[in-house]
Amino acid sequence: MIVEPRPAALDATSRTPRHAATQERPWRFTLTVAACTVVGMAAIVKSYLIAQTTVSDEAEFIWFWAGMNLMELPLIAVIARRRTGAAARSALLLIIGFTSYAPKLLRDPGAPLYHDEYAHWRATYDIIANGRLFEPAQIVPVIARYPGLHAATAVIVDVTGLSIWQAGTVLVLLCHVALLAGIVTLARAIGLDSRAATLAAVAYGFNASFLYFDTQFSYESMSITLVVWSLAAFAQAIRVRSGPHRGAWCCLTVMLSFGCAITHHLTTIELAAVMLIVSVALSLPRAARSDGWRGTAVTAWLLSAFTLAAIVGWITFMAPATVAYLSPYLGTALHQLTQMVSGSSSGRQLFSSSLSPWWEHVAAFGVTVVALAFAAAGLLRRRRPGGRPAAGRERALLLGFAAVGLAYFPSTVFIFSQAGAEGSRRSWAISWIGLSVLTALSGAWLVDWASLRRRAVARAAAMGVLTAMTATALVGGTAAGLDASYRFPGPYLYGSDARSDTPELNAMAQWFLARFGPGHRVVTDRYTGLEIASFGLQDTAMPSAAFPVWDLYTAEPGQPLGPPLLFTVLTEGHYRYLVVDKRMATDVPLLGIYFEGNEPGDFVRPDGQPIFSGRLAKFNGVPWMSEIFESDNYAVYRMYLPAGRQRYQVLPVPLHGKLTVGE
């Protein structure tokens, strides 16, 4: 028999909150909340309109955060009220889910802009065009072996007639909303009541990936929702009595975790890790001992083993390149951290090239403090008599997810390492699943505590502090994620993934496609390559130490181009076109790289000038190259490889042609 202890958030106090006794006017209240939400949305639209014309202006941040706070805080306040019904909370959470997609929708309403979005757009296009999965992918080759997102998108395109971008947007939007519903289901399975569970979903929305990174058209956006639902089904399988119900939830866990394995590598590995942590907690007699706890633990271990086997099997048999793709990040991050600890490296300077205002940076640090305060309060609350569940599945689940949540704090150390920053940030989407449960426990209790203050001033002050902490988490969580160049539109910004798309680049890519057709091998830089490899339908080179295409660009005029090995690879790989962005010679990229992260680090001289300065015009004199296109900022060269010994006329001879225009 399951003993259902009283949820901690509900037994925070036995007294009725004072605000409950006041006379309420529900329609006025509802209209106020609705008006705040609409005005908040208008403010967000205003912020994006301001951002269009400025590289970065504090006004756009002020309008944006005013809008977000106006839109979300009233809804969160209603969710946190004890008198709000469970169904109404679900409805309000759905509204938060949809409206929190607005920043990403307004950022790129018509076409992909983020780096991975181009890759998934192309992968989806290839499935539609070729009718096959696992075709070699451009930009991010490993995504070819994880077809979950683009296969589903391709089907939606086929059935509905929507464009790839529209279909992807619909799918990601639904995943985004389903993610919050999944957190609620998971939190309820852990034992939280609907108020605390909904607050957990709200708290999850403060993680660095929620507003932008996990709303992009990329495999993580779908897989994070699958992870959450896998964990919800896993927790349900543990919480229900053995029998058909457990079997049902086990089946769903298996299906969801396998779906996760075919969608994204890293999140599935993280999913398996979380399930293993929870399984360990369920095997601890002190935490889990209750009727049938051994059977429950066996169920948990079996489900964890299946998930682990699914991702290991998929990587082994279907996506072996995943290991080579992921391993450098972890290895380099650990190496850099070791260097930092030993003092031989200063590490990464946070927000060094950020376009966002100082108060966002402060909030980004503040969110860790707020999370720590809430998590500590949640743990302390659980340790007090009456706040701690009896030994059993609920306590073990809570212990397991608390451990996952607390992993967030040590993971923040990796943010100081250049290689570990990205992985650290991506892990937060997982660790915040556990952290949100912890913070929701204390959040619900603190709301009750604040509303029970006898003096109105004390009540208002307590509520004000809670509101300020929530607003800090909302601002800081997002600020700790992607930079402003990803978040806001604006003028062209050299070397930023999300602001490199211009009409000129688009026109060049379309000219190339119209003139030569798809599928040509092209050498170019990272930012030009995004458009060429996606809408241009060409196959761009993947620069590496073994294929150092940057040597073509860095060679000084008059010097022979590249090492012989490079020409061998170019010739055997049928690379026939070189596209040059002339701004490489004058501008330093915002992201700090011209090609990929593995490029040599000396492309910017100590005086701040790019090494390419004065070295790009040389291609016009290379005998085995012809410049076939030139626009304001781009030049396209045809490479005649293997390079022959072509002899050119140097002595003056009579040769007279004729130019004819418009005839």
Binding site: I2, V3, E4, M41, A42, I44, Q52, R83, T84, A86, S90, A91, I95, L105, P109, G131, L133, P147, L149, A152, A154, V155, I156, D158, V159, T160, G161, L162, C175, V177, G182, T185, G191, D193, T225, W229, R239, P244, H245, A248, L256, I262, Y492, T502, P503, W511, F516, S626, S631, D632, R647, V650, P652, L655, H656, L659, T660, V661, G662, E663
Partner: protein, 310 residues
């Protein structure tokens, strides 16, 4: 008097009640997807097809797994969407394993078969529950934590309507924001000019026969106002430019593409010549210029390599 007919009528209604036959209704809805190509592809068809495509397979899976009643309306809908999205991916995997080309029709047929199986399983679960399982939860505790009756608010049956309301309100807000943004004035996109060859694709130095050759190219001026340019053609071998044709001045109006050609006779000797076309902006203090080039040589050149540089 009216007893028997009334009872018969009620009986027929009961036989097809939603709670008893919802999997069949959903299967029918999925089968009806075959009719959606009547509607032109785009948002209208998407409004009809997406709820079915991203709802039915998942809902049937939950029904077949006997999990439908274990979750509230919001969770049911969300989980159904995720499972449906997975089924779309699984269907493409099945087609790949069967070596069938992935297409809308192929996936539809595959998913229809899957839905038939899921419907049969879900109906079987419904019949078993109706036949034997108690309608209410056993007294020793809830079968599922989501059914813990500790919540205030709407009755469970109204929860679905709250969820629908939340979805509609959220969609309306999101769509309103997107429309407001789209209809607001946006800065004009930055203009550009390009110069490019437009003839047959050359693979190396172009051979020129006795008749000479005409090389077509185009100039695109993608800016609001007109602009004046000077177009020049030269040839070069060692970096020194030699005039090839009389320069032309041309005026290109805004957002226009001009087509032009360069005609050259067969070049003398056996060497290759690098032909360079240069377009220079007229008027500004710092005029921009664009150039393209190509290698040409006589198809059967005479003479030795005396004047050639390697």
């Amino acid at each position: 008097m009216s007893g028997p007919p009334y009872r018969r009528h009620q009986g027929s209604r009961l036989r097809y009640r939603w709670p008893d036959a919802w999997p069949c209704y959903l299967l029918a809805a999925f089968a009806a997807l075959a009719l959606t190509p009547i509607v032109p592809g785009g948002p209208v068809r998407a409004v009809l097809a997406v709820p079915v495509l991203l709802g039915v397979p998942g809902a049937l899976t939950l029904g077949a797994a006997q999990a439908r009643r274990s979750v509230d309306a919001t969770a049911f809908g969300a989980l159904a969407v995720m499972l449906s999205a997975l089924w779309l991916a699984f269907a493409t995997l099945i087609l790949t394993v069967c070596k069938v080309r992935i297409s809308g029709t192929g996936v539809y047929v595959c998913l229809l078969l899957v839905c038939c199986v899921l419907t049969a399983a879900a109906q079987r679960q419904l019949r078993r529950r109706t036949a034997g399982e108690p309608a209410v939860l056993p007294a020793d505790g809830p079968a599922d934590v989501l059914q813990v009756p500790d919540e205030a608010g709407a009755a469970p049956k109204r929860g679905a309507w709250y969820a629908v309301g939340g979805v509609l309100a959220g969609t309306a807000l999101l769509a309103g924001g997107a429309l407001a943004y789209a209809s607001a004035p946006h800065p004009a996109p930055a203009g550009y000019t390009w110069l490019a060859w437009s003839g047959a694709k050359a693979n190396g130095v172009i051979a020129v026969g006795a008749q000479g050759i005409t090389l077509p190219f185009e100039i695109t001026h993608q800016e609001p106002g007109p602009a004046e340019y000077r177009l020049a053609a030269t040839w070069t071998g060692d970096g020194t430019a030699h005039p090839l044709a009389a320069p032309r001045t041309l005026r290109v109006s805004g957002d226009k593409t001009v087509r032009a050609t360069l005609s050259i006779p067969r070049p003398p000797g056996a060497c290759a010549y690098r032909i360079v076309l240069t377009l220079t902006e007229l008027g500004p203090a710092h005029p921009r210029s664009w150039s393209i080039n190509a290698g040409v040589r006589a198809s059967q050149g005479t003479g030795g390599p005396a004047g050639c540089a390697s």
